[in-house]
Amino acid sequence: MSGLDTLIEGVLLGGVYALFALGLSLIFGIMRLVNLAHGDLILLAAYLVLSATTALGVSLVASTLLVVVVMFVLGFLLQRLVLERVIGDDILPPLLVTFGLSIVIQNGLLLTYGADSRRIQAGAFESMSIAIAPGVSVGLAPLLALLTAIVAVALMQLIFYQTSLGRAFRATADNPQIAQLMGIDERSVYAIAVGLSLAVSVVAAITFGIRANFDPSIGPARLLYAFEAVIIGGMGSLWGTLAGGIVLGLAQAIGARINPEWQILAGHLAFLAVLMVRPRGLFPSGRP
């Protein structure tokens, strides 16, 4: 049964990675923008939720909704006031700006919250588990994280393929200049995309923050997993990103099973293996 345990654990871990990667995948798909501050923005969201539950004393659900709104507005403004100025044909300036932003957020968090490890408290829910087969039980929190990831991808997919906003996203991704001719204001489409990306990150922050301790310095490491999930899945494909997260989670769980020291290494090896066999990822989107 322990083999099955490992697989389940890997898939559940993958759900968390997929949530990390979803926001990254979203803005890369629409704007071709690589957001190096994504991991730190997730951490920022985690700290905001922490503050809302402890300082304001609101429930976890209420603080989640509050922080989702805050992060959406933050993303919108971040695009309009900062990123918009550097986005263009040259991909280097946005990389440098988001890299700088990553450092600013890390140090801002360090200044505000200190270097101690924190954790989001979810009460008894954290340790609840359900039996899915005789002798096999899974934690409710990680299971919910995976389900949330699936729902989040399905929701994004719905927005992308069934709404006028989604068509505007995809049209702008195809050709921003021609999209303007359709009456699509590229600037607000991009700002909404970044806002959406950060709003999704709040969900990632919570599933992660309940599962493990965090401190202000761990953002870049999360970013690395998110990148790997996006690239394994194929750039620009949201379901691919979910699959990528699960591949990464499975590899890490299996690696850890063989030797606890190999967990992270196994994830990176799986990433390299996918790159060698399918350089464009498992489910590359149609565009070159």
Binding site: R170, A171, D174, A179, Q180, L181, M182, G183, D185
Partner: protein, 234 residues
Amino acid sequence: MTALLSVSALDAFYGDFQALFGIDFELEQGEAVAVIGANGAGKSTFLKSLAGLVRNRPDAIRLAGRDIGDSGAAKVVRLGLALVPEGRQLFRSLSVEENLLVGAYGGDRRSPWDLQSVYRMFPVLQERRRSSVTVLSGGQQQMVAIGRALMSNPSVLLCDEISLGLAPIIVEDIYRMLQQIRDNGTGIIVVEQDIARALRSTDRFYCLQEGRVTLAGTPADVDQQAIRSAYFGM
């Protein structure tokens, strides 16, 4: 009586390079006008200026009594001026129907064009509404591009080289559609390399050469020799 669209003393620049010099131009409701000229004469720049892709003096371009010279493309289309871009430029990751729907993004100017009426004019598009635009023939792609522009219910439709790369019989079809679009009161500006084709279906023409209007009039009143010299500058 003022024209639906009027352009006065339009100068257009790409950085330091001046592409258009003092262009004056008018279009009435339901009128079709051809803009002809050799490669590099400034035809595409002229259309881009109208569509808001190249910014100009506010009062250089007036649409229905409103200055739009410095408005961006997203705003201009909402005000009623739509461009069918050269080379069709469809959204490759969108289906036929999605391409048409994106055309309606710019607000809710109602009649007469919607999915139903566009499909009525181009029935083949309805059959292929779920297809990717990349698998359509060139003529069908051009129909999507025209339908997409119509979905914004423009009062002026700009057509940039719509016959390029299409078989003559398809070109005739497309021009028949343009006639139908005019009958709904939409003004049309056609930019073509194929002068004869453009002049057959338009009421008036402007000939551009090196960024200036060198000849303007109605096709019937001007002889071939005059057009040729205005076109080539010889």
